[in-house]
């Protein structure tokens, strides 16, 4: 279970303080697919970065499967990212000089997984997403939809419990956007991964179990679907 308890994030520029999050409390069950929507500047991406342990709350705490983020040191947060979290970005963020396979291998390299096992797992993951025949392609040789599939494979390869997707369809045409969100939905259903998806596209948000609407750093409303 992922829990955000009165989470504040305040950015400071000189003497000016800008609160990006103002006391967000949210509880996401294991295997739940949650979409966070809201206008620009509402704090969606800040929320995702905090859940992704890339940053720490100014106040409050985040607890994932019983582990409090604020109790973890830098290495603990690194380990959390390596083992429990997978990121999918709007701009895919694949390393252009590596092949699709090597990109998928990256989290396993960071985790120190031996080469042969790494290769096997990365190939398996690409195959599951229907990308096995593109393994040796560089990102520039792939379409946007294919690149995002590779990015999703990279997010999944470490078998994390939570997938964090920041506008994953933002750079895709509608057909590819639909494919990607359906893929995420499928991963959520089939493998029970918790998915926290940030989007401003309400059509995409419709795929989630719950839609959390944010405004001015606060949770404005929550709509549970199904």
């Amino acid at each position: 279970m992922l829990e955000l308890i009165d989470v504040w994030k305040v950015y400071r520029t000189g003497s000016v303080e800008y609160p990006a999050l103002r006391g967000v409390t949210l509880r996401i069950e294991d295997g739940e697919f949650v979409a966070v929507v809201g206008p620009s500047g509402s704090g969606k991406t800040t929320l995702l970065n905090l859940v992704g342990a890339l940053d720490l709350p100014t106040k409050g705490d985040i607890v994932l499967n019983g582990t409090s983020y604020t109790s973890l040191g830098r290495s603990g947060l690194n380990e959390l990212r390596r083992k429990e979290l997978g990121f999918v970005f709007q701009t895919f963020n694949l390393l252009s000089h590596l092949t699709a396979l090597e990109n998928v291998e990256l989290p396993l390299i960071a985790a120190g997984v031996p080469r042969s096992e790494r290769r096997r797992r990365a190939l398996e993951m690409l195959a599951r997403l229907g990308m096995e025949n593109k393994a040796s392609k560089k990102p520039t040789e792939l379409s946007g939809g294919e690149q995002q599939r590779v990015a999703i494979a990279r997010a999944l390869v470490n078998n994390p419990s939570v997938i964090l997707a920041d506008e994953p369809t933002g750079n895709l045409d509608s057909a590819n956007a639909k494919n990607v969100v359906e893929l995420l939905r499928e991963i959520n259903k089939r493998e029970g991964k918790t998915i926290l998806l940030v989007t401003h596209n309400l059509e995409i948000a419709e795929y989630a179990d719950r839609i959390v609407r944010m405004r001015d750093g606060r949770v404005e409303s929550e709509v549970r679907r199904n």
């Binding site: 940053d55 830098r74 990212r81 390596r82 083992k83 963020n93 960071a110």
Partner: protein
């Protein structure tokens, strides 16, 4: 991250910008290649000169002269400032000292500038080229020093250097066959007591080649031609010689005899009286095979250290180049750093990745530098100022790991700051970076 994966990732980053990486290595290539060229050059030149000089300077012989010894450079001034001050009495005394087998003396005659040596009416060597006419005792030359013939026995005979013999042989039709000059008569012209003298002498000996020094010289019998005199305090004018050569009876007593002879000169010799009066700034200097060897080594190393400083400077410039490019890399790859951090890479991993890249660039530069340095070394030894001399070529396999190690170290040192900066980048900011 494991070191192997780190290397693979670093290599793949380097190959993305092949041309840029290659340019970055240039400073290292130049620096390391210079070092290798200099090492090759100096060790070859040193080995060659030492072998040639030790061949010519017999291990049982040393010489003493009054000369200027420059402080800080050992005896390296001894070729420059020597003055004739050693008297007949000094020679006789040294000859009688225990452990001394033989003594010889020498002094310079002032060669005629325009035609110091003439063969069949033609000036063979010009005085402007540093031609020397040396008056020397006939026993000065050992068999080892002579390439052909023997030493002179009287004033009608001469011994010439290899170079002079070659020029005469050229006049005879075959430059290579220097032995043919034996028995030929040359005219030597010099000034003695303000009067120009011209003597016809027969060549009876040719000295072995000594590269770069004493190339143009003819030797005459001391007693027939040399008459430089000084007035010793308390007695009349006596003949004074520039150098006295001493042969010891047993090489095992060499140092002992040398100290004793030097002690005699410094305390009770007539040369000392003359030195105190006429050249108080000069001192007694000795030359022996060991000293010549040390001198050559010193000179070669002095030159080598100078060039090595240029090499080190190039390395410094190279390392600044690497640091600069690495800083550019860090900025360009900010987003990549964010991605790496997001997938769980630690700050340490990012630091090590950039350090590995910098180290690899340095090592690649050094790997290119080894063959380049060797090539330049060979070029220098084959077509440079040493082209006429067959120098031994020194190439050692250990240069490769050593150079690559140095290159990698320089690279890593240059990469420290950029890598540190990369590791400190906030991942949230990095992921937003465009």
């Amino acid at each position: 991250m494991r070191p192997r994966e780190m290397l693979v990732l670093a290599w793949s980053n380097i190959t993305v910008h092949k041309f840029r990486s290659l340019l970055t290595t240039l400073g290292i290539v130049f620096g390391v290649a210079t070092v290798i060229t200099v090492i090759m050059m100096s060790s070859s030149v040193e080995t060659y000169f030492i072998s040639r000089f030790t061949d010519l300077f017999a291990p049982d012989t040393f010489s003493v002269a009054v000369g200027e010894v420059r402080s800080g450079t050992g005896a390296s001034g001894f070729f420059i400032h020597q003055t004739p001050m050693i008297t007949e009495r000094d020679l006789a005394h040294v000859r009688s000292m225990p452990g001394v087998k033989d003594v010889y003396a020498s002094g310079d005659l002032q060669p005629d500038v325009t035609s110091p040596i003439v063969f069949r009416g033609k000036v063979v060597s010009s005085g402007l080229g540093g031609f020397r006419i040396v008056a020397i005792s006939p026993n000065a030359f050992t068999e080892n020093q002579l390439l052909h013939g023997r030493s002179f026995r009287n004033g009608r005979e001469t011994v010439v250097t290899y170079d002079v013999a070659r020029r005469i042989a050229k006049e005879l039709g075959n430059e290579e066959d220097v032995a043919q000059v034996l028995g030929k008569t040359v005219e030597l012209n010099f000034v003695q007591g303000g009067v120009r003298r011209s003597v016809q002498v027969r060549i009876v000996g040719v000295l072995k080649e000594i590269p770069f020094v004493f190339q143009n010289a003819a030797y005459l019998n001391l007693d027939d031609y040399y008459d430089v005199r000084r007035t010793v305090p308390g007695s009349g004018p006596v003949r004074v010689f520039r150098v006295v050569g001493v042969r010891v009876s047993s090489v095992t007593e060499f140092d002992q005899v040398k100290s004793a002879v030097l002690e005699y000169f410094k305390t009770s010799s007539e040369a000392e009286k003359l030195r105190r009066r006429d050249a108080p700034d000069m001192g007694f200097i000795t030359i022996s095979a060991g000293e010549v060897t040390n001198f050559i080594r010193e000179q070669v190393q002095l030159f080598a250290s100078f060039v090595l400083q240029i090499g080190s400077f190039a390395l410094l410039v190279g390392s600044i180049g690497i640091a600069n490019i690495m800083l550019v890399n860090v900025t360009e790859r900010t987003k990549e750093i964010g991605v790496l951090r997001a997938i769980g890479a630690r700050q340490r991993d990012v630091l090590n990745l950039f350090l590995t890249e910098a180290g690899l660039i340095g090592a690649i530069g050094a790997s290119i530098a080894v063959p380049v340095g060797i090539l330049f070394g060979l070029l220098f030894l084959r077509v440079g100022p040493f082209s006429g001399v067959s120098l031994p070529v020194t190439i050692r396999p250990e240069w490769v790991p050593l150079a690559v190690g140095i290159g990698a170290l320089v690279g890593i040192a240059s990469g420290v700051y950029p890598a540190w900066r990369a590791s400190r980048i906030d991942p949230v900011w990095a992921l937003k970076y465009e």
